[in-house]
């Protein structure tokens, strides 16, 4: 006859081995999951280094309420939207750098996205927009989506806010001539003003943001 303590010991060991088996099975599944995830994120294509092209930035200057044209050689993506975002990112990097002529915090990360869409010529002011289109290409509207952190940290003032908005518009127009209009969003939403002054509800015409229009004596 099997002693009682041996029967108990047998069942205890049986339960322990079943639990250990279940744990091992789970650990194996997790390891397999990790391996698959690592495979999915690993590069399947060698990264392409975009060729450097010249980009014209209209850099604002608070001292005399002006914008100065500066040319940089930047590796830019081929997609127009991504290109616009990269150029504006460089512009905002200049503003975030120490000793900037137009100091604004945020840098390139302040621009979430730039969307390009055809201008609806049948809308309000369609004729004016068509007239403003200097390029042969179909006129486009750029929708610049800024982060709320950028708007919150932007210095308050008519001059400084206007310069930020106008330098973005003028830079877009200088590099993407088909962009005739610019609208601004903050975190994907429409916002009344940038930091209490510059109107973000209106559509800006890039032709009006040319350097001659800024700081010009009335």
């Amino acid at each position: 006859m099997i002693p009682r303590y041996q029967t108990v010991l047998f069942f205890v060991l049986l339960a322990a081995s079943i639990i250990m088996g279940a744990v091992l099975w789970q650990l194996r599944d997790r390891a397999e999951q990790r391996r698959l995830e690592a495979q999915a994120s690993s590069p399947t294509q060698a990264p392409q280094v975009a060729p450097a092209v010249q980009a014209t930035l209209l850099v604002a200057n608070d001292a005399d309420d002006s914008m100065q044209e500066r040319i940089f050689s930047l590796p830019l993506p081929s997609s127009a939207g991504a290109r616009a975002r990269a150029i504006l990112g460089k512009l905002l990097d200049l503003y975030a750098a120490p000793g900037a002529t137009h100091p604004v915090e945020g840098g390139a990360s302040a621009i979430t996205q730039v969307f390009l869409m055809p201008v609806n010529a049948s809308g309000t002011g369609g004729a004016r927009r068509r007239g403003a289109a200097s390029a042969a290409a179909a006129p486009e509207m750029a929708v610049v989506n800024l982060t709320s952190a950028f708007a919150a940290s932007h210095p308050s003032g008519i001059e400084t806010e206007s310069l930020t908005v106008l330098s973005i518009c003028a830079t877009l127009h200088a590099n993407l001539p088909q962009v005739t209009e610019v609208r601004f969003l903050v975190d994907g939403q429409q916002r009344e003003t940038l930091a209490g002054h510059a109107d973000l509800t209106r559509t800006y015409l890039t032709a009006e943001a040319a350097p001659a229009a800024v700081g010009a004596a009335p």
Binding site: D62, E159, T160, A195, G196, E208, A216
Partner: protein
């Protein structure tokens, strides 16, 4: 117009033979004096031109505007508005202010006050810790011909030409006061809905003071200098307006048959 003058101008003396008649026509004459063109077919001389200035101290209440430490734009603009109002009233200019205390006002309320005042000059007062000197901004709207009805959001388009003239006078006066002035065009919702000649005046730190931005803006001497220059410019603007209206009247008189 007195009763005797009224009688003389309308020929009623011939019929006024009793005090009773005088008593009856007394109140009527007051009414007719208010509507003078009805009687006699003569147009009396127009009343003297009314000159009103609207001062809009930007921000207020929950909206502090720019701020740094204890300095707030809303307090600065209110102080400048009060100072400028006193200077203008001392020079006999009628002043309407959009706010006299720390209160929240929507852009539509500010525009309603200024448009109702039918002013000859509207100044939207701002301050900024960035830049230097005084920045003057006129609406970037393209000028249009005045019409009976104008869109609320672009009402300033009918007055842009006069706003540019006002900015020129302000620029000249501030420059003569030794202040560094920059001029520009911009889109400001409050200014874009004003029907009067309107300029946004943004006071930035004085670069020649050698003080920090907030110290410079808190400097009572600097504030007084800016306010005096603005008051002087508005006085000149009034003179220009008066001489223009005199020219207008004389021109009309010369062309009258």
């Amino acid at each position: 117009m007195s009763f005797a003058q009224f009688e003389k101008s309308t020929g009623l003396r011939r019929f006024a033979t009793a005090n009773l008649f005088r008593r009856i026509l007394g109140p009527v004459s007051i009414f007719l004096a208010l509507t003078p063109s009805v009687i006699g077919g003569q147009t009396p001389a127009p009343p003297g031109p009314r000159f009103v200035v609207v001062l809009d101290a930007a921000h207020g209440g929950d909206d502090t505007g720019g701020h740094s430490g204890n300095w707030t734009e809303k307090a600065f603009t209110l102080a400048l508005s009060v100072r400028l109002r006193s200077l203008l009233q001392a020079r006999g200019i009628e002043v309407v202010t959009t706010r006299e205390q720390d209160e929240t006002l929507a852009a539509e309320q500010r525009d309603a006050i200024s448009n109702h005042a039918q002013a000859q000059a509207c100044l939207s007062l701002h301050a900024s810790l960035s830049g230097s000197g005084v920045h003057l901004f006129v609406s970037s709207l393209a000028p249009v011909q005045a019409a009976r009805f104008v869109p609320w959001k672009t009402a300033q388009a009918t007055a842009v030409a006069r706003s540019l003239g006002l900015a020129g006078v302000l620029n000249s006066a501030l420059g003569q006061a030794g202040l560094n002035v920059t001029l520009g065009r911009t889109a400001l919702p409050v200014v874009d809905s004003m029907t009067c000649p309107a300029v946004a005046v943004e006071v930035a730190p004085d670069p020649s003071s050698g003080e920090t931005a907030t110290e410079s803006l808190n400097d009572a001497g600097y504030q007084a200098k800016v306010a005096e220059a603005l008051a002087g410019a508005l006085l000149e603007w009034r003179q220009n307006g008066l001489s223009e209206s005199v020219h207008e009247v004389s021109r009309k008189g010369a062309h009258a048959p």
